[in-house]
């Protein structure tokens, strides 16, 4: 089975992605991760203004079969949260890199993004 890995995203080993967007980074989980979890039923996210720290958990994702922590790929301040996931957590399954995004974070140190796995390296990891 092959999973979508967009060129403009960078990844953590734990399957979260970050995408650079005008001074902020958008964060979500990978196509591989949503497939492993199966039907997502509940996502618990921080609030706007909260700080997240690279490598530390920022929330929880529950599918019918499993529960998993979410880890921040970058450090910074949450400037937007995808509220659509409250009523439609299945967006994470349907469109993990698009409508299923989770947070926008104002990044403390942009170079943190460069330390993440490249799409090629992440592809190797899940192969």
């Amino acid at each position: 089975m092959s999973f979508e890995i967009p060129d403009d995203c960078r990844f953590l080993n734990s399957h979260e992605w970050a995408r650079r967007e005008d001074g902020t980074a958008r964060i979500g989980i990978s196509d591989f991760a949503q497939d492993e979890l199966g039907d997502v039923v509940f996502v618990e996210l921080p609030a706007e203004g909260d700080a997240v720290t690279k490598g530390e958990d920022f929330g929880v994702i529950e599918s019918i079969k499993a529960v998993s922590d979410l880890y921040a790929p970058v450090s910074g301040t949450v400037v937007a949260v995808n509220d659509d996931l409250v009523d439609a957590p299945e967006l994470v399954n349907e469109d993990p890199y698009g409508d299923g995004w989770m947070l926008d974070v104002e990044v403390d140190d942009e170079s943190e993004l460069d330390d993440l796995l490249s799409p090629e390296a992440y592809d190797d990891q899940i192969a």
Partner: protein, 367 residues
């Protein structure tokens, strides 16, 4: 322990299934998605490979007596072609496993068959042999688990899906089959034992198929393949017990009255555990398996603590899920009997956070 694989393992792999260990068997847990598979069974039909279930054949002049003395239900009430749900208990009345006992139709090569849960076939077949010898009964006990695969075709359209590949002369008999009855019928040219039984709350059939022919039979059915994930969500909605989880002689020792299956206990029969259960029945139980739903967001899972509104622990979740049909988080827990009535407010501790929950009558779904 070497993992056992169902004969259809490669077929499921080709279909893109993911697998899980279940009772020592590597079984498909998900094909499409749990929700899709679950909906297929509630709305139309789905087919499960449940070859992890055991098959133990018991024959001979004392076969009925042996089964009568090792299961809680009344085997003598069965006519050939009928089946019943029963518990297997120890001297203390603790449930060792739950099972379906078949008084086989006359055209089968054994007198009785019973179906232990995954990984219990050897232990229970030994239990039958040991007691037969101890009681000096004249019966043969054969563990046929490797000889048979088992499929479950479940859902409101199960009957019409089953009729298609069945020999035309046998279709009326299939339609006339009442719940917990079984006949031999030919599916795609293969002789199967077909019973109107299941674990989903829907109409449906379980097919016991010779291992070497199961792929032929499986391919006869053009409907959603379903894994153990959907099997679990379907049975939790019905409040059906899962062996090793909702009861377990080691980790969660329970008697049938606590587990809500007192209807399988026939105290006017003679069986191992009867005297203990007679006392339990007379004295009553302190705890009962109770349904609840989470009012707050979250998903209850096995092992989570249930507490009263003061934060005092009153029980542990044995099964829980997000119900795909109700779109509500639901679960089962053994709670003190005063929490039995529906609508009592309790809390479930989800990852350190107490969440509001309310007891609810079982089953969660009317069927």
């Amino acid at each position: 322990m070497t993992e056992r694989t169902p004969p259809l393992h490669a077929v499921h792999e080709d279909a893109g299934a993911s697998f899980t260990d279940f009772g020592g068997w590597e079984m498909p847990v998900e094909f499409e998605s749990i929700r899709t598979e679950h909906r297929a069974v509630r709305d139309s039909a789905g087919i499960f490979d449940v070859s992890h279930m055991g098959e133990i054949a018991v024959s001979g002049p004392d076969a009925e007596r042996l089964l009568q003395r090792l299961t809680t239900n009344d085997v003598t009430a069965l006519d050939p072609g009928q089946a019943q749900y029963a518990m297997i208990t120890d001297e203390d009345g603790t449930i060792l496993d739950d099972t379906v006992v078949y008084d086989l139709p006359a055209d089968r090569d054994a007198d009785y068959l019973f179906i232990p849960n995954a990984g219990h076939d050897e232990q229970l077949s030994d239990r039958w042999v040991d007691h037969r010898d101890e009681w000096g009964l004249d019966a043969t006990v054969e563990n046929r688990t490797d000889d048979y695969a088992m499929l479950a075709l479940q859902g409101p359209e199960a009957e019409e899906r089953l009729l298609d590949p069945v020999a035309e002369s046998q279709r009326t008999a299939i339609c006339d089959l009442s719940r917990f009855s079984a006949i031999t019928a030919t599916v795609g040219g293969v002789d199967c034992l077909i019973a109107r039984t299941g674990y989903t709350g829907e109409d449906g059939f379980e097919l016991i198929v010779p291992t070497e022919s199961v792929e032929t039979v499986w391919r006869e059915f053009d409907c959603q393949p379903c894994g153990l994930g959907a099997r679990d969500t379907l049975r939790i909605e019905m409040g059906f017990l899962l062996s090793g989880q909702d009861f377990d002689p080691e980790d969660n020792s329970r008697n049938p009255y606590e587990a809500g299956v007192g209807f399988t206990v026939k105290l006017d029969t003679e069986f191992v555990g009867r005297d203990a259960l007679e006392r339990v029945d007379a004295e009553g139980v302190a705890e009962k398996l109770t349904g609840f739903r989470l009012v707050d967001r979250g998903v209850p899972r096995q092992g989570y603590t249930v507490q009263d509104l003061d934060g005092e622990a009153i029980g542990t979740v044995t099964s829980g899920t997000m119900s795909p049909t109700l779109d509500q988080p639901i679960g089962l827990a053994y709670l003190p009997v005063e929490y039995r009535s529906p609508g009592v407010n309790v809390q479930v501790v989800v990852r350190g956070e107490p969440k509001k929950a309310q007891t609810q009558a079982l089953p969660f779904l009317d069927r």
